[in-house]
């Protein structure tokens, strides 16, 4: 059992906290927005209750929730051995946070960055412990996914890799090692695909449903790119494409204006109840 801090209780942090708690780890879940913490606990409870119905194992929601402590202060991370960071994909927010975590945590606490596209070496450089900073690109929804990208930064030590690999093993995640580069393997390809799919809607070539239908019926994909955008978060897609654009200075990563408009309008996908499609919200 490991004492794990999870920072950011949005789509990813909620899934990571649930998965760790379900596998017996102690979890401290921190978000600077108290409402996000309430929603995270409600989502974890519902997910556990629904598990058996959706073909998974029966999960005792109360036992899972009992493993999780929540709060808005980084001081709660003082005793953690590993901290998994899942805040908004925004360089200014992340850079401020890593500097604060560097102070709030013990010197030997390992930091795991769950980012969509920011290079891990760049994140490591924010701290006094670049050897203890590792990238893990979890897949969404975390409790249902059995693999992740495993991305050491330039200075990441073997010991840090071992610690993180062991933690991933304990929650049944296969770690696929890839080298550090913006977007890693998955999002170099996926974000461009989703961005281009948004352009098709933006230009009126097809509506969202039709774009997804082509991917489902012609390619046999279980979900089309715009359903996937709603699952990930339309805002997160935009921020990730923006990071790729900044990192490579290549115009092929120009973000689709429709993604910007949807993000500004609060059409963030499943998590906000509306994106390319409409959903029943938790609230």
């Amino acid at each position: 059992m490991t004492n794990v801090g999870v920072v950011g209780a949005g789509v990813m942090g909620t899934g990571v906290a649930q998965d760790l708690a379900h596998h017996g780890h102690r979890v401290v879940l921190v978000d600077n927005n108290a409402d996000a913490l309430d929603e995270a606990l409600a989502k974890i409870e519902l997910d556990c209750r629904m598990s058996r119905m959706l073909g998974g194992p029966a999960i005792d929601a109360e036992a899972v929730l009992a493993q999780i402590t929540v709060g808005t202060s980084l001081d709660l991370l003082a005793e953690t051995e590993v901290v998994i960071e899942n805040i908004t994909e925004n360089w200014d927010l992340k850079s401020a946070l890593y500097k604060q975590m560097d102070v709030a945590c013990k010197a030997d606490t390992v930091f795991v960055a769950n980012t969509s596209a920011i290079p891990i070496t760049k994140i490591g450089a924010l701290t006094s412990r670049p050897d203890k900073v590792m990238g893990v690109h979890f897949m969404n929804p975390v409790p249902m996914k059995t693999a992740c990208e495993f991305i050491p930064g330039y200075h990441t030590s073997e010991q840090t890799k071992d610690t993180v690999r062991a933690l991933l093993d304990s929650i049944g995640k296969k770690a696929i090692p890839v080298n550090d580069a913006s977007g890693f393997v998955s999002n170099r390809v996926l974000m461009l695909t989703v961005n281009e799919a948004a352009f098709l809607v933006h230009e009126g070539v097809a509506d969202a449903k039709t774009v997804d239908e082509v991917f489902r019926s012609c390619f046999g994909h279980p979900m089309g790119p715009l359903e996937t955008a709603d699952l990930i978060g339309v805002d997160t897609i935009l921020y990730s494409v923006e990071v790729l654009y900044e990192q490579f200075n290549d115009s092929k990563y120009r973000p689709c204006p429709l993604l910007k408009k949807m993000t500004d309008a609060g059409l963030h996908g499943r998590k906000s109840g509306k994106g390319f499609y409409t959903y029943q919200s938790m609230g």
């Binding site: 519902l46 209750r49 629904m50 119905m53 959706l54 959903y279 029943q280």
Partner: protein
């Protein structure tokens, strides 16, 4: 009660899937348009719309296969709450 529940549940489903037609007794999962996300939305909708919390032992697909079965589930929950 049960008829009202049927109407509300049917409206919820058809708002989401306007192109699909099905009877109250038909297995909506067998029709193939209901996925796991929608199953979760159905549970959230029923709990919210009928002000009930479905107990764990009732949370299985068998209770959500058709509009009629869901309305029966609602009736059981609300009568349990009253009685």
């Amino acid at each position: 009660m049960s008829n009202d529940a049927r109407t509300e549940i049917r409206t919820f489903i058809t708002t989401k899937f306007p192109d699909v037609t099905f009877s109250d007794e038909e297995d909506i999962f067998a029709l193939g348009f209901v996925n796991s996300l929608f199953a979760m939305e159905l549970v959230m909708f029923i709990e919210k719309a009928f002000g009930t919390r479905i107990p764990n032992e009732e949370l299985h697909l068998g209770n959500f296969r058709s509009v009629a079965l869901m309305a029966d589930l609602v009736a059981r929950q609300t009568s349990a709450a009253v009685g």
